[in-house]
């Protein structure tokens, strides 16, 4: 079982630059055909200072942490047993290419279901920009499958 004493533990915070080329590649990867998300002139014509960060991309930037496996290592979780259970975003301010975003993750909860066959790790992450303004709050629920269940 995952040690629930880690509830409330902060993971290392980090800063990430939002890169224009990366946003354009992400737009391609998700089949985004609206040029607002890949063409600078279109974005500026719509009143944006640069390419806007699309709704789910903040989760991707969070994976750009210096050690993206920090949570799994801390809790001794095998990546092969991990599933993404839920993802939540609350948006406060639009982020754009050129922004430097700060991510502050915290382990918000750890709990088990089905007699320990499934364990849930809830990570909450506050995202702010280079001006200290709130950009978004993320919640990621990771499901850990324990084939033997119980005390594995």
């Amino acid at each position: 079982m995952i040690d629930t004493s880690y509830i409330g533990t902060s993971l290392p915070s980090f800063e990430v630059m939002v890169e224009r080329g990366r946003l354009a590649l992400f737009a391609k990867a998700i089949g985004q055909d609206d040029p607002l998300y890949s063409d600078l002139a279109t974005a500026r014509g719509a009143g944006h200072p640069d390419l806007p960060v699309p709704p789910t991309f903040l989760f991707c930037l969070e994976m750009d942490a210096p050690d993206p496996a920090a949570l799994r290592k801390l809790l001794s979780i095998d990546i092969a047993r991990v599933l993404h259970g839920e993802q939540h975003f609350r948006y406060h301010r639009q982020a754009h290419a050129g922004d430097r975003l700060r991510f502050e993750p915290v382990i918000a909860d750890i709990h088990a279901k089905k007699g320990g066959a499934l364990e849930f790790v809830v990570r909450d992450t506050r995202v702010t920009n280079q001006h200290g303004q709130a950009v978004a709050d993320l919640r990621c629920v990771t499901v850990v499958r324990n084939p033997q269940g119980g005390d594995s």
Binding site: K28, A29, G31, L36, A43, T56, E86, H88
Partner: protein
């Protein structure tokens, strides 16, 4: 009420079949390098028959339904629960429906029920979003969103 009503349906988005190239591109673009989505040897060793799509790829597809409908700055919250894995070859239908409208002075908050299902109607994602619609409403979105 800003030209919206409960049970209004958002223009749906169909994608797929999801290819291995789609998963490779998403792996690189998203920064999610979990090998279970791109390395069949790793997936099999982990007890899966094959690689399968990132849940966040489907959430990104579903997010396009939102940003096709309103300017992104109107979106207040966007949440999903991943119900089942999406195999290579799946065809996905991303849909949204207005489930609640709350008047807030001149503007209103619209709650959307969202889902992604495959060609066999199996639920992949169930989601919800809230959108703050300003007083001048959805009819002006083209001006804000850079599209017709």
């Amino acid at each position: 009420m800003n030209g919206m009503a409960i049970d209004d349906v958002l223009p749906e988005l169909s994608v797929g079949p999801v290819s291995r190239l789609d998963l490779a591109l998403y792996c690189g673009a998203s920064g999610d390098h979990n090998p279970i989505h791109v390395d069949i040897d790793f997936a099999r060793a982990a007890g899966m028959e094959d690689v399968f799509a990132h849940g966040m790829l489907s959430m990104a597809y579903l997010g396009r339904v939102l940003t096709n409908w309103v300017p992104q700055s109107w979106i207040e919250t966007y949440s999903v629960r991943f119900s089942s894995i999406t195999p290579v070859g799946a065809r996905l239908r991303c849909v949204g429906r207005v489930s609640a409208i709350e008047q807030l002075g001149e503007s209103c908050r619209v709650t959307l029920a969202l889902s992604v299902r495959d060609q066999g109607e199996a639920l992949k994602i169930k989601g919800e979003a809230t959108v703050r619609v300003p007083a001048d409403g959805i009819t002006n979105r083209g001006n804000n969103n850079g599209k017709a």
